[in-house]
Subunit: 300 residues, 2 copies
């Protein structure tokens, strides 16, 4: 099944203990798409300005991604982000965020995109995510990401969104903030009670947790000695997870758990180099090979 | 196989968001012994002062633990510790540490204890751990714990200890400190190169990692909604792990991984109430039942 993602594509500058790279192709939908394409056809909806490097669009198209949904606002400027990671690779300082055209993003889906059955709403204002979601009334599975900014500043819109989506993906600090508790298990269940059928809490180097009415579990991250750039790891995780669900055209509990594992593994490739450098060179075989190691690691 | 543990037994005062409890039976060897006894006979070697509550010794004896190795220094005072946990249950403030007799502990093992094949050296000065280890020259498996204090102040003794033991158990921040890196995978391998055949890094609510020459893996913690008191969780983990190894009288890679899982599960019971309250009431059946859930959680 094709998978529709609505989210940002951006120009990133990243500094980690391994070096500094400017003008990288970034944004949640870029990382998501590069991860999901291993499993299923991906259709990307986003917005850029007149300054957008056309080669980035061609790069995405070259990886088989449907880029017809990338709107260009010739008079606007593209989303730019720059950040610096601490040596622990978990804490990062955002040096600059220029949302520009993405800040006023009003997604308008094509007739083809409106027929999507699997939809991922990348991190954006909940009102933008709602506007996108309303255009795919027949979708079978809608999953959204969010962030601390929206939890703090757009609480009502976010609450409305949570009653309309099937799943929510968010990181550990965001879950604690939204649920007002330091215990992640409690946080997962509290957020689930706000509407979604399932919640996934991303814990970075510590893996990810899953919560539904009848299931609570955690899967560890794949142990990585060389973490070069964590940017987009969470989006790659979501891409791997959603990509597998769309490929299987199924989201029963067993498939969801396997999808979580694929998300974790695809994210482990994402962090091995800056931007999308490593993600562009791997194949499904690399993922399956790591999956075999991962299954062995978790069996005893 | 019987299991020998040399370490502290103490009087603890603990404050967490769930309340405050004074005069709890604590210390690394207490938590270790209560966890290991589910699997194998435990022999405890420690030291207390004239103020030691005799009912604590009787409590341990009542759980089947050989307490003949508890030395009493009538003129001395017992080890006392008090601490307060932050709401996140990971950060804690040590309010008072009075080592007293444990600070001058010179373990002298009985002829029976000297024949031990499985030995755990609970957290103590590396010189004390070495003195204990020298008295069990025929042991098959010697594993030690350590802490940041000894890494900082007794580096040479610790380096000597690392060349004499089979395994080292330490927590994540201690591993980073000892290996001088923020990456836990790198830290695990670097510490292993200092001598031990295997290293276990405890990550609290995120589980534990294992490192040997040919294996690197991580197992997640059991998801817990009610973490009441984390004190002694690491010692319970070590007790469950070593107890299972001694029970199996085997420490091949497969047995070590299963032992790690038992350690994780026993620790999950330890944190469900203050001190040893919950650990005293559970049975092996409770552990096996949680193990079945844990295996199911990790299979997909």
């Amino acid at each position: 099944m094709p998978l529709l993602v609505i989210g940002s594509i951006a120009v990133d500058s990243v500094e980690t203990p391994w070096g500094r790279h400017d003008n990288l192709l970034g944004g949640s939908a870029s990382h998501f798409s590069l991860a999901a394409r291993f499993f299923t056809p991906v259709k990307l909806v986003s917005v850029v300005g007149g300054d957008w490097p056309q080669e980035y669009t061609e790069f995405l198209r070259g990886r088989g991604i449907d880029v017809s949904g990338i709107q260009v606002v010739p008079t606007g400027k593209s989303f730019r982000w720059s950040g610096r990671y601490e040596p622990n690779m978990n804490d990062r300082e955002t040096l600059a965020v220029e949302l520009d055209v993405f800040g006023n993003f009003e997604p308008v889906l094509s007739p083809d995109h409106r027929r999507a059955k699997y939809v991922f709403l990348g991190n954006a204002a909940p009102s933008t995510q709602l506007k996108a979601l309303e255009q795919v009334p027949g979708c079978r599975l809608a999953v959204a990401d969010t962030m601390d900014l929206w939890i703090k500043t757009c609480h009502d819109d976010l609450m409305k969104l949570l009653t309309r989506i099937d799943g929510l993906v968010l990181n550990d600090s965001e879950a604690k903030l939204l649920a007002d508790t330091e215990n992640l298990v409690l946080a997962g269940h509290r957020v689930r009670e706000l509407g979604p059928k399932f919640i996934v809490i991303k814990k970075g180097e510590h893996g990810a947790m899953f919560f539904s009415e009848h299931e609570t579990y955690v899967l560890p991250a794949f142990p990585m000695e060389n973490v070069v750039d964590p940017t987009g790891a969470g989006d790659s995780f979501a891409g791997g997870m959603m990509g597998y669900l769309a490929e299987q055209d199924n989201f029963d509990p067993e498939t969801l758990k396997t999808a979580m594992a694929y998300g974790i593994l695809v994210a482990s490739f994402n962090v091995e180099d800056f931007g999308l450098h490593h993600m562009q060179s791997i194949t499904r075989d690399h993922i399956e090979s790591r999956m075999a190691e991962y299954r062995k690691m978790l069996s005893f």
